[in-house]
């Protein structure tokens, strides 16, 4: 291996450690279990979304609707519990169904209606941003809110549901690890195993690399593509559930950054270990990278508006790593 190969393979990991070292010296209190947990918590939701969008990237597609699927799921959870006065289980099931249905529709549009993936999911994004506001005429959902017909919504978020966002497991230190972080880790392991070690994951990569070859090898290409969007939709809705549980209300103003952060994490993932392809491990590292960067900047009192800029720079650098330096992106 040449120096160049090493740079491509380990460049981003080295950069990640460098960043941690820099913040450890420059920002007081950066190195502590609480700080680490805070970083994990801050990336949990975007990480879950990023893992979902990774599935669509693997089959050579893209899903721009994940952010709005997540916020739609959040609003739906709030609506089901606060307005319809249902319990947490019903809320979770409704959210997951929304994710699966949106994924199915996305897949159908792309595979059968031949709409290009970016456009289909962009359309779906706009549709959902509007749809999620219709039931409450654009209002956020919280216990005691006044409904459009003048009645008052008396339901409330169930304790079990709120625990998804607020409960912390003991891990050496009491009350350390939030549920959302555990969810992220479990899903990351699941999707990593699925993509790397099952024949379905392998076929998805084949579909993404050479659709015709995959088809002639006997793969039901259309089904694989649709499944990828269903995975993406369901993961996004899980992200929405976690968001609702953390906020405790259906807030129409939240979740604006979800799409950008998740896509950035997945694309940064291309550069990790020189994979030059979408992969679950890379996505997780990418999400972590963004989280560390933002946490560090926050602790160093960098103004909020510099954060998007820094994220953008990191993304562009990562893409250069993937496509220009490795040369594999071209094939």
């Amino acid at each position: 291996m040449t120096l160049r190969d090493h740079a491509i393979r380990y460049g981003f990991i080295v950069l990640l450690f460098g960043l941690v070292a820099y913040f450890a010296i420059a920002a007081d209190g950066f190195v502590s279990p609480q700080s680490a947990v805070f970083i994990f918590q801050s990336v949990a939701i975007t990480g879950v979304l990023a893992l979902g969008v990774t599935a669509t990237l693997v089959v050579g597609g893209f899903d721009l609707s994940i952010g709005s699927v997540a916020t739609s799921a959040m609003m739906a959870a709030a609506y089901v519990m606060v307005v319809l006065e249902q319990n947490a289980v019903v809320a979770v099931v409704v959210c997951l169904l929304i994710g699966a249905i949106v994924g199915l529709i996305n897949g159908w549009l792309i595979v059968y209606m031949r709409v290009p993936d970016l456009l289909a999911t962009l359309g779906m994004m706009f549709l959902l941003v509007g749809l999620q506001r219709i039931p409450t005429e654009g209002r956020s959902i919280a216990t005691g809110m006044t409904m459009p017909d003048g009645s008052v919504a008396n339901g409330k978020f169930g304790d079990a549901f709120l625990a998804l966002g607020r409960h912390r497991f003991d891990f050496f230190i009491p009350n350390l690890i939030p549920v959302s972080v555990v969810v992220l880790l479990v899903l990351a392991l699941l999707i990593w195993f699925f993509l790397e070690y099952t024949r379905f994951g392998r076929m998805m990569y084949a579909v993404g690399s050479n659709e015709r070859a995959a088809e002639l090898a006997g793969a039901p290409v259309k089904a694989y593509k649709i499944w990828a969007y269903v995975i993406s939709g369901v993961f996004a809705s899980i992200g929405g559930i976690l968001l609702a549980a953390r906020l405790g209300r259906g807030d129409i103003a939240s979740g604006n950054n979800l799409l950008l952060d998740a896509v950035a994490a997945a694309l940064i993932g291309y550069a990790v270990l020189g994979a030059a392809k979408p992969n679950a491990f890379g996505t997780a590292v990418g999400a972590l990278f963004v989280g560390i960067l933002l946490q560090g900047l926050t602790m160093m009192n960098a103004p909020y508006y510099t954060q998007d800029f820094v994220k953008g720079v990191v993304l562009v650098v990562a893409l250069v790593f993937t496509f220009a330096l490795s040369g594999r992106g071209r094939g």
Partner: protein
Amino acid sequence: MVGNAVFRVEGLRKSFGRNEVLGGISLELHSGQVTVLMGANGAGKSTLVKIISGVYERGGGTMTLADQDFAPNTPAEAIRAGVVTVHQNINDGVVADLDVATNLTLDRLSGKGVPTLFNPARVRREAKAVADRMGLAIDLKARVNDLSLADRQMVAIARALAHQPKVLILDEPTSSLSSAEADRLFALVDRLREQGVAILYISHRMSDIRRLADRIVSMRDGVISGAFDTKPLDYEGAVNAMLGRKIHLDQIVARSSAKPVLTVEGLRIGLGARPISLTLGDGEVVAITGLVGVGKTALAETLFGVRKPLTGTMTMNGKPYAPRSAGDAIAAGVFLVAKDRATSGIVSGFNIERNVSLPFLKRMSTLGVLKRRLERATARRQIEELSIVCRSEKDEMSALSGGNQQKVMVARWMAQNAALFILDEPFQGVDISARRDIAAKLRASANGRATLLFVTELDEALETADRILVMSEHTIVGEHRNAEVDLDRLLAEVAGGPLHSAA
């Protein structure tokens, strides 16, 4: 006639790296004549066309146009000098989103002395002049997108002819046209011939060639292998010069089979084509040969379930066989090494090991989880079996030579036992030693399955098959046991006409 050639090519050479593609081509085109150029894939036809049309620089030799030296540096220069080329891919010649008028005048939109502002009225006026001269009856306001392929091509040709060329090159112009559409093109070619244009017509289709040719020139391996200009034209001779045997290879010992594996009855794969019936036996290697575009790939894809036959039934080992997808075919033991490995075989993101295991992941996993050790062992065994030259089974496909890439494709499908093993142009872009290896492997392992090859090159059929079938116009027109083959009859069948040399 001879002596007044308007366009003359002499000793033209071209190499790409160490690979010589044209080894001294000499060719003459005469005014008011259609010269047909025939040649198999890789014979160097497109390189020749690209040099004449100014895309490539020539490596040596001379070209003269009306006794003047002709050395275009760009396609635009060639057109200005009066040599116009209509390329094979119709959609490369037109801009689909613009209307016909703009397309007809597209080449006047840039260059020196062109007004900056786009004047629709002027464009329409000029376009009308171009269309009238050609007798083109297409609505000038129509969008090219809405036109049929034939009309699009007419537009591309009309624009080319607006320059009043002395030489017109048509590169496989009918390859995506229906026969009615082709007739319109032929009428146009006739008109141009009367106007005194020298036409170089490149085609594989015998029906085109019979209809149009005044002369035929055959190319093979970068040289002119035959020129025919006495009427009646010797079509079989031309096909022979294009495909015929280079070297006399050792005859193989042709086997026959007693046990049928696949029986096909009344299979029709094209509108208006006669039905196909054939039987493939256990242990025999059958080659189907024929020119490009006669339906070889269509038949291969029909047997493999990715294309539906119009009518007909298939029986596999006594049971009805009607695959609806590649998955069905694979489950029934029918495997296909598809034509053109780069687009329909190789998964470039995967290494050798993963390319080999691709179709059989189901058989290599439990509950969906891959057995990676089995996968690796299979890849290693197949690398050994086909003597694939590589460092390890983890090599990327791009690191392999063309011959070794093709071996991986064959190895992929030989990893499991087939009932029927189909290979569509398995020797394309494969060097001679890899070709021998693959052919030998196919013959050595032939027992227990039926093997079916689709090849354009006769040599490839003669050196691998026990039985040779000839395809023409989407049906099978001849059958030969590969022992004492009557080459004259075979070539006549390939050429698609009645046998008129009884010798």
